[in-house]
């Protein structure tokens, strides 16, 4: 039997979406084909320390309390692996006689961190720099989609319907948002469109820090919440009769862009907030989390392939999702979210998640041409190997005739 490739799945992270990422990472590990891959769990704790160990597989370990690291090995990623030898983690364990150093070789990293420091291109850039193969979006796509304003600008320029927006930067320390100036900005950005507005942090996914405002006071309050998480905040008009639709996109082996089943997340609250999104049907740390069947994005009640969508709407969702995937040169399993006014039927592209919760596997399993999570993980990994291998051509200075120093 061939030697199995070691797939390091990196999850957790210094991100407000840390907990969801733990579920996503563990689910990915559980869906690795045991015939060809060996999973290596790599947990990034909220302090930024990296850990591995079999104990990471148990959901009951989280949140990892200090002093609870028994059985775990602390890791550092070796960024200076010489060309020709494979990527590796360096380990250090405290033994009886001082520190014991070691290394764990691996073949590819799967970033399963949601939000900042993982989904936003920073980790991808680091891995590209070190020449370490990784799965999913490359640096550019990950960074460009994480910034909601930038992503919308690109979409708008290519004719994809998006909502108008107003971008505000965090006021200097000690200062507050000026309501009068804000009113003026609102008028110039939105014209006749008045309250309610939606406020979002510019660089986060997962509905964290998103708020609805019915008047100027609520707007200022919502902005302050958003500014706690990000130095840029985005104001958009609230879509009346709101329905949301999500679809996942990936590139098939033949190079064509594929879309998954469409989902409409079900919710009771006015707005899809974080708790609603992830914890419907279970309490955090409750026994359900152990089941693996109803956790993370999966536990969210959803309508798959909703019947109310017309053919034109479905076509818009699928084609715009594919379009943005191509525009931003995305990879992996990407989820594209849309807003819809269910009365008028108008649709807007809302945001792009390059590391969606649970890698959106449930959308692929429900697709017309169903793809099991097992096959999805294999596809994501193999695409990652191919993309990383094809990134750079020769890096020898001789290649372009750019030599300045005499070479033997």
């Amino acid at each position: 039997m061939a030697i199995k490739k070691v797939i390091a799945v990196v999850f957790g992270g210094r991100s407000v979406e840390h907990d969801v990422s733990v579920l996503t990472g563990l689910q990915f590990l559980e869906a690795l084909d045991p015939a060809i891959y060996e999973g290596l769990p790599v947990y990034v704790d909220p302090l930024g320390q990296w850990w591995t160990g079999d104990a990471l597989a148990a959901r009951s370990l989280y949140p990892l309390e200090p002093g609870n690291e028994k059985g775990l090995i602390q890791l550092t990623l070796d960024l200076a692996t010489p060309a020709g030898s494979g990527p590796r983690f360096l380990t250090s364990q405290r033994g009886l006689i001082g520190e014991k150093r070691g290394e764990i070789a691996f073949d590819l990293i799967v970033p399963a961190i949601h939000g900042s420091n993982g989904e936003d291109g920073t980790l991808q850039g680091l891995l590209d720099f070190a020449g370490i193969p990784y799965a999913g979006c490359r640096t550019l796509g990950a960074a460009a989609t994480m910034n909601k304003v930038f992503a919308k600008k690109v979409a708008r320029a290519d004719g994809i319907n998006v909502l108008p927006e107003l971008v505000l930067t965090r006021p200097e320390k000690g200062k507050f948002v000026d309501p009068e100036a804000l009113k003026a900005s609102l008028a110039s950005a939105f014209g006749d469109i008045s309250y309610p507005y939606i406020v979002k942090p510019c660089n986060l996914g997962s509905s964290v820090g998103v708020g609805k405002a019915d008047n100027i006071d609520e707007l200022v309050a919502a902005l302050m919440t958003a500014f706690r998480l990000d130095n840029e905040a985005l104001i958009e008009p609230f879509v009346a009769n709101l329905s949301e639709y999500n679809v996942a996109v990936r590139r098939g082996e033949d190079g064509l862009v594929l879309t998954s089943a469409i989902e409409r997340p079900l919710r009771e609250a006015d707005l899809l907030d974080f708790k609603n999104k992830y914890l419907a049907g279970g309490t955090p740390g409750g026994p359900k989390l152990e089941s693996g069947s109803s956790e993370g994005m999966v536990s969210l009640n959803r309508e798959l392939n909703p019947e109310e969508l017309s053919k034109a709407q479905t076509d818009f969702i699928r084609s715009s999702a594919g379009q943005i995937f191509d525009l931003m040169s995305l990879a992996g399993s990407v989820r594209v979210d849309f807003l819809c006014n269910s009365k008028t039927g108008e649709l807007w592209l809302n945001e792009v998640n390059t590391v969606p919760g649970s890698f959106a596997y449930f959308l692929w399993e429900a697709a017309t041409d169903p793809l099991s999570f097992l096959a999805l993980t294999t596809a994501i990994i193999e695409e990652g190997f191919a993309l990383s291998a094809g990134r750079l051509g020769a890096t020898d200075a001789n290649t372009g005739g750019a030599t300045l120093f005499a070479r033997a």
Partner: protein
């Protein structure tokens, strides 16, 4: 034997191969809901409620795994297969019985955390078990002679959760936990896949390894980090991959 009622089952898909799923003690067909869904598009899948569980009524008091196997074959009637039987825990006992007794109806068996072989116990454990059994008998004797209530107190103190919950199935449970399918395992003619979680304390890896020695054509795989129950949920994809691989290997032979 009295005529029995049709066992309740949930069927999905059609055509060949035909896969029949037999759940573990205390579960019903829903135990396989997640894992069986991953086999969509691969023939017909029937998820049974075993007698006494889910929507299937009791068989008769003290029915053994042999009876379950016999009646299942009777129920299948003209739908003679050969079928692939996938059994979890107690369901695996029935799969072994089926494969041993009705080889013509069985194409392959997959045992997930399969029970049916006695566990190796330490001398201390055996001594403790002997003492407890004796205590139980004494309690029953005392109840019969002196009209005391010791037996129920004994059960609530020392009985397993399954034993306490078994109700009318208690005799069946007792016959199952004391049965040894070693000789049946030796008679299995079809290929068998044995999946055991490394963290399983109900049917530890040791049982799978012994099945591997007993069943002539067997493939044993230990799934790291899974226990007796979450092997069906968290471990669904691992099981899916291993089962599909195994079935492919059979078809290529």
């Amino acid at each position: 034997m009295e005529p029995t009622q049709i066992w309740h089952s949930e069927t999905s898909g059609s055509g060949m191969p035909s896969t029949l799923w037999l759940h573990g003690w205390g579960y019903d067909n829903r135990a396989f809901a997640r894992i069986a869904a991953l086999f969509k598009g691969t023939g017909r899948h029937r998820l049974f409620d075993l007698p006494g569980f889910g929507k299937t009524p009791l068989l008769f008091e003290g029915a053994s795994t042999k009876d379950y196997a016999e009646i299942l074959i009777e129920q299948l009637g003209k739908d003679a297969g050969p079928h692939i039987f996938i059994g979890h825990s107690y369901g695996a006992r029935i799969a072994v019985q089926l494969a041993a007794r009705y080889p013509e109806h069985v194409k392959a068996i997959v045992l997930i955390g399969g029970a049916g072989l006695p566990r190796r116990r330490s001398l201390a454990f055996k001594a403790k078990a002997f003492f407890l059994k004796l205590l139980g008998r004494l309690a029953r004797l005392s109840d019969q002679i002196f009209k005391t209530q010791y037996r129920s107190a004994y059960v609530s103190r020392f009985g397993s959760a399954d034993y306490k919950d078994a109700g009318p199935l208690r005799a069946t449970l007792v016959s199952a936990v004391t049965e040894n399918l070693a000789s049946q395992a030796k008679q299995v003619k079809c290929p068998a896949l044995l999946l055991y979680g490394s963290a399983d304390t109900d049917t530890p890896v040791e049982i799978g390894l012994r099945y591997e020695q007993l069943i002539p054509i067997a493939r044993f795989v230990e799934l790291k980090g899974y226990d007796h129950h979450d092997i069906l949920t968290r471990g669904a994809y691992q099981c899916e991959a291993l089962i599909k691989n195994f079935l492919k290997a059979i078809d290529n032979d």
